[in-house]
């Protein structure tokens, strides 16, 4: 964005989009952090707050889409401007999904609350959430700075989250096998862990979108994956826990 448009209101329209994206990012980040805190501290009131905040992101996404459509129709954007607008639409959708995942985690707080949660598991979840939130925070910073290098770095770091998720998955299976009474809370926690892991994926998607917005080409190569939970079997876990 070296120079301004000849039509200055066009700049205002693009600024509106990026400002709203940043706001959505802030809200999504806060919702995820609150949902995990509500989960580990079994704070039903905080969970309720997260649930009620989801509508903010839904509305913001709709407004961003409306503005983007009108801008495309009015300005017929080209090149970087077009990528900027398409990027805003995509990132808004990703952030809206992040909000949904936070909300889903918050909803499970009440179910987990009744049966209590092993301390160790809570710590695992917190660690997972820390990493996912860091990804999210950094990707929002990259959105503001448009650093291609940092966008690439975020994309390449998603495997850390995957690895922790896989180990949490194993742990939860172990707890369930130890005592069938753990099955209900652990199943909920499994979904919570999955939610948080997905937030990392969305952050990575956003990083890829920013890369595209800045360069006009898609990042090359497969993104690194270390989620092996799809191949974890109960017997293997039982062996490992002996």
């Amino acid at each position: 964005m070296s120079s301004s448009h000849i039509v200055s209101i066009y700049d205002e329209e693009l600024k509106y989009l990026s400002r709203r994206i940043s706001e959505m990012g802030g809200t999504a980040e806060q919702m995820v952090a609150d949902s995990v805190r509500a989960l580990v501290t079994t704070d039903a009131a905080l969970a309720q707050k997260v649930i009620s905040e989801d509508v903010i992101l839904d509305t913001a996404e709709r407004q961003i889409n409306d503005k983007a459509i009108v801008t495309i129709a009015k300005r017929q954007p080209m090149a970087a401007d077009l990528r900027e607008i398409m990027g805003a639409i995509r990132i808004a959708a990703e952030l809206e999904r992040v909000g949904d995942l936070g909300k889903n985690t918050a909803k499970r707080v009440i179910a987990v609350q009744s049966s209590g949660m092993p301390r160790k598991l809570a710590r695992g979840l917190e660690h997972l959430a820390e990493l996912a939130l860091m990804q999210l925070k950094e990707v929002l910073d990259v959105y503001a700075t448009r650093s291609i290098e940092k966008a690439k770095a975020i994309r390449e770091r998603d495997d850390e989250i995957d690895a922790i998720y896989t180990s949490l998955f194993r742990e939860l299976l172990t707890y369930m096998m130890e005592d069938p009474r753990n099955i209900t809370p652990c199943t909920h926690l499994l979904f919570c862990a999955k939610n948080i892991e997905r937030i990392g994926d969305h952050a990575t998607n956003i990083a890829e979108t920013i890369y595209y917005m800045a360069t006009g080409s898609q990042p090359e190569g497969e993104r690194p994956k270390d989620d092996t939970s799809t191949s974890v079997v109960a017997a293997g876990v039982a062996d490992a826990s002996e």
Partner: protein
């Protein structure tokens, strides 16, 4: 095991991609109007059966370049062209070249529709007649009908061919001019902002026509409408201050151009 054959296929595809035939080749083309230099060593090749759009701000030299392709600049006093332009293998600035014949091979459509003050029929028949392309009246009739059909105008005018060409609407007049250009079976058609005086519907008809003409002709179009360049062309060349700054596939040009000046121009930004 398939590695070799895959590589071979890729190579063949590459060859096909690289197998581009150029209809016109401009090498180090410079144009001077008196002491003022309007074009600086432009190297631009025009691909066969392709629509090439020339874009750039006013005074950038795009129309000047277009006019060098059929020596329309010859008609301007004090205009001097250096460099070399070939049509197939013929140097079009060779003194032995017959300019009238050249302009039959490289036709032109102008910004403002300019039909002759004659009948619709005569507008189209004039060129073929003076170039001796028709042996008989029936021949000429056939050329007129075919040309009007190619220009997408036949159905609208077939019952009033003897009426004046200037009585048509602006969009119809422009298509009549295209029919007139097509009638002498040119190889290349140059269009200098052919739609800037037309309404959106007439513009769409001309654009549809350009799309169809591409099968038989090579087209070079100057346009101030970036959207039009993006819609009708396969290759786009960007001019700025008399220089060719970038020539690229149109799809690339309007999504991710290489040159900053192209970027600024198509996005409507200050340079």
């Amino acid at each position: 095991m398939n590695m070799m054959s895959e590589a071979a296929v890729e190579k063949a595809l590459d060859k096909k991609m690289n197998d581009i035939s150029y209809k016109m080749i401009g090498k180090d083309v410079s144009v001077y109007y008196g002491d003022k230099r309007a074009l600086y060593d432009v190297n631009l090749n025009v691909r066969e059966n392709t629509v090439t759009a020339l874009i750039g701000p006013s005074g950038c030299g795009k129309s000047t370049f277009l006019r060098t392709l059929n020596r329309m600049n010859d008609t301007i006093d004090g205009c001097r062209v250096t460099g070399r332009i070939t049509l197939d293998t013929d140097d079009i600035y060779d003194p032995a070249i017959d300019v009238v014949e050249l302009r039959a091979r490289v036709g032109m459509v102008f910004q403002k529709p300019n039909p002759f003050p004659k009948s619709i029929y005569e507008n189209v028949a004039y060129g073929p007649r003076i170039h001796g392309l028709a042996k008989s009246k029936a021949d000429l009739d056939a050329i007129v009908e075919r040309s009007l059909q190619k220009a997408g105008l036949w159905n609208e005018v077939k019952d009033r061919l003897q009426e004046g060409g200037t009585g048509l609407s602006g969009g119809q007049q422009q298509r009549l001019c295209i029919a007139r250009a097509v009638a002498v079976s040119p190889e290349v058609i140059l269009m200098d902002e052919p739609c800037s005086a037309l309404d959106p519907i007439a513009t769409a008809k001309v654009e549809e026509l350009i799309h169809e003409l591409r099968a038989n002709f090579t087209i070079v179009i100057v346009t101030h409408s970036m959207q039009q360049a993006a819609r009708v062309s396969q290759r786009t060349a960007m001019f700025h201050l008399g220089n060719l700054v970038e020539e690229n596939d149109t799809d690339k040009m309007f999504t991710n151009p290489d040159d900053q000046r192209t970027q600024d121009y198509i996005m409507g930004r200050f340079g």
